[in-house]
Amino acid sequence: MSTTAGRTPRLSAGTRRRLVHGGLIAATFGYVGALVVAPLIGIAVAALKPGLSAWRTVFADPYARHAYLLTGYITVQALLVTTVLGVVVSLVLSRDRFPGKAVVSALVDLPLAVSPVVVGLAAVLLFGLGGWFEPWFAARNIQILFAVPSMVLVTIFISIPFVIREVAPLLQELGTEEEQAARTLGASQLQTFFRITLPNIRWGLLYGIALSTARAIGEVGAVLIVSGTIAGQTETSTLYILRAFDEGQDNSGYVVALTLAMVSIVMLFGIEFFRRRQEKGHSA
């Protein structure tokens, strides 16, 4: 057989490669466009169509204002705990060796895998009437369920994996040599953490915090169950959206939805922006 006869007559290898790559890029854009950008635009259009009046109505509504404040309050509280606890758990998981570590490592992801509704129900079982922890708090006259503490609690539980999943692999990859070097140079363990470990993980940590904040702001299922949804008391922004649609106040729902989405988007883009600027300034 001659060499020319063996050759495929249709497309050259280069053309085929370009076609495959083009197809994959188109699929990526299609996915991001259809599933991420389009719904976002939909919400934006719906929220902006009725004009400023809808926004005025929402911000004049004391329940809406309370819902925003409550979401902010819960998010900040959850954030403090997820940050500190997230870093501690990440350090333990990436540095220490102990029996049962694999199990603990898997359990950390559990909140991502379990429906938030189940998390809410579990909290009800623990803190509700007849629950394990209920008598202790009841004796001290502390209201957990159908009050802000339980809402903070489930929010922490649901958002903490985002910090750990960003930080733990980073710590693993960094290794301990820089920390050991700092120790041999006379740094205490605290100095080593704040001057070596933390600066090295700061971008991953910030990104994890941003993701976990976004998750905390958007939380519905678990909060819905433990809060009792008392308007003006235990109603967060997401619960407000649910109620708005229930009561036919679609415009208010869209407005609140858009503001929540904007907060998350600004946060993620902001962190990406600062990270890039930092990296450029460092290795240019």
Partner: protein, 365 residues
């Protein structure tokens, strides 16, 4: 007690593996001492225990006459240089070097002048505001050294400091470290698997193998009077020839190439021979063994000659070209040994199961 380093009965176990077994040695004040051994010999673990980065399971450590065993890394404050530099990647070169001073809250002006002095010393003053990832490997290791020296440690611990560098840079840095040490005179402990490095830099060498000390001595003693087969093999004897003791010499095939008077008659023995200690001639004599030339490889100014002894053993000689330009593959030559270390085969690892067969001693007689 010595002003340098004294280590006694050091043990370290990781899980069920004894990494360091009863290691003891002394290292002289103001000198470079090398811990030499293959990877897994426990040398780095010993160094890390001296630094306080690992806790020994048993044993004691003194430095400068002061016991260190119970002290933390931070309290010991020995300079430590890591194989992979371990520079703080988020800090500039000058902040890296200043770190040891700044954690001790030294005045800013004093920090600055000490950093400048050290960067000058390691020849990196123009790089003060660079980040580690903007430096070459050799430059990074010099920064690491400056950083370790900044707080004026009384002991400098170097863990394979040139191990991650390519051969040319390694040579360069070795010479540079030698000069630097002459200038500063700080007591140093150098962990290395490179015998040339140990022999060139160290005043004294501690050879380690499988968690134990095999031999302690000067470079000359280690090289010329290895006390164990391991040391002989590790410091350059590439050939191991099996034979037995016959009339005070080692008998190998049709020759008796080296003296073995220190071993009992008939003992199975092994000769450890460096490839440049082989002498090739055309004539029988001096107990030389006959050998067939299988292959000749030109290595530049030397040639490697692969020889097959009559009993099937292989011997590789490496000699200057002008000494061996007459040798062709297929030729019959006679191999004499200029120098060889003879050990009883029972004392070498790979002959552990052999006992002395009676017929060998008869054949020897």
């Amino acid at each position: 007690m010595s002003e340098g380093i004294v280590v006694q009965g050091l043990w370290k176990r990781f899980g069920s593996f004894d990494a360091v077994k009863d290691v003891g040695f002394e290292a002289e004040d103001g000198k470079i001492t090398a811990l030499l051994g293959p990877s897994g010999s426990g040398k780095s673990t010993v160094l890390r225990m001296i630094a306080g980065l690992e806790r020994p399971d048993a044993g004691r450590i003194w430095v400068g006459g002061e016991e260190q065993t119970g002290k933390s890394v931070q309290e010991r404050r020995f300079g430590f240089v890591f194989q992979h530099y371990a520079l703080f990647r988020h800090m500039t070169v000058s902040r890296n070097v200043a770190f040891g001073l700044s954690v001790r809250k030294e005045p800013k002006a004093a920090q600055r002048s000490r950093v400048n002095e050290l960067l000058e010393l390691v020849g990196l003053a123009p790089f003060a505001s660079r980040y580690p990832d903007q430096l070459s490997g050799g430059q990074r290791q010099r920064v690491a050294l400056a950083r370790a020296l900044a707080p004026q440690p009384r002991l400098l611990l170097l863990d394979e400091p040139f191990g991650a560098l390519d051969a040319r840079v390694r040579q360069e840095l070795r010479r540079w470290l030698d000069d630097l040490h002459r200038e500063l005179g700080v007591t140093s402990l150098l962990v290395t698997h490179d015998q040339d490095e140990a022999l060139e830099l160290a005043n004294e060498v501690v050879v380690m193998h499988q968690g134990r000390v095999e031999q302690i001595g000067t470079a000359d003693e280690i090289y010329n009077q290895p006390v164990t087969p391991f040391v002989a093999g590790f410091v350059g004897a590439a050939n191991i020839i099996n034979g037995y003791v016959s009339a005070g010499r080692i008998r190998v095939a049709d020759g008796v190439p080296a003296d073995a008077g220190h071993l009992p008659e008939g003992e199975k023995a092994q000769a450890y021979v460096r490839s440049h200690d082989i002498r090739l001639t055309t004539a029988v004599g001096n107990g030389a063994v006959s050998a067939d030339v299988e292959r000749v490889t030109n290595m530049g100014w030397t040639s490697k000659i692969h020889l097959r002894l009559p009993d099937g053993q292989v011997l590789i000689a490496q000699l200057p070209n002008e000494e061996v330009d007459w040798i062709r593959p297929g030729a019959r030559v006679y191999a004499g040994l200029r120098d060889a270390k003879i050990f009883s085969a029972d004392s070498t690892e790979d002959a552990a199961t052999d006992s002395r067969p009676a017929e060998v001693s008869e054949a020897a007689g």
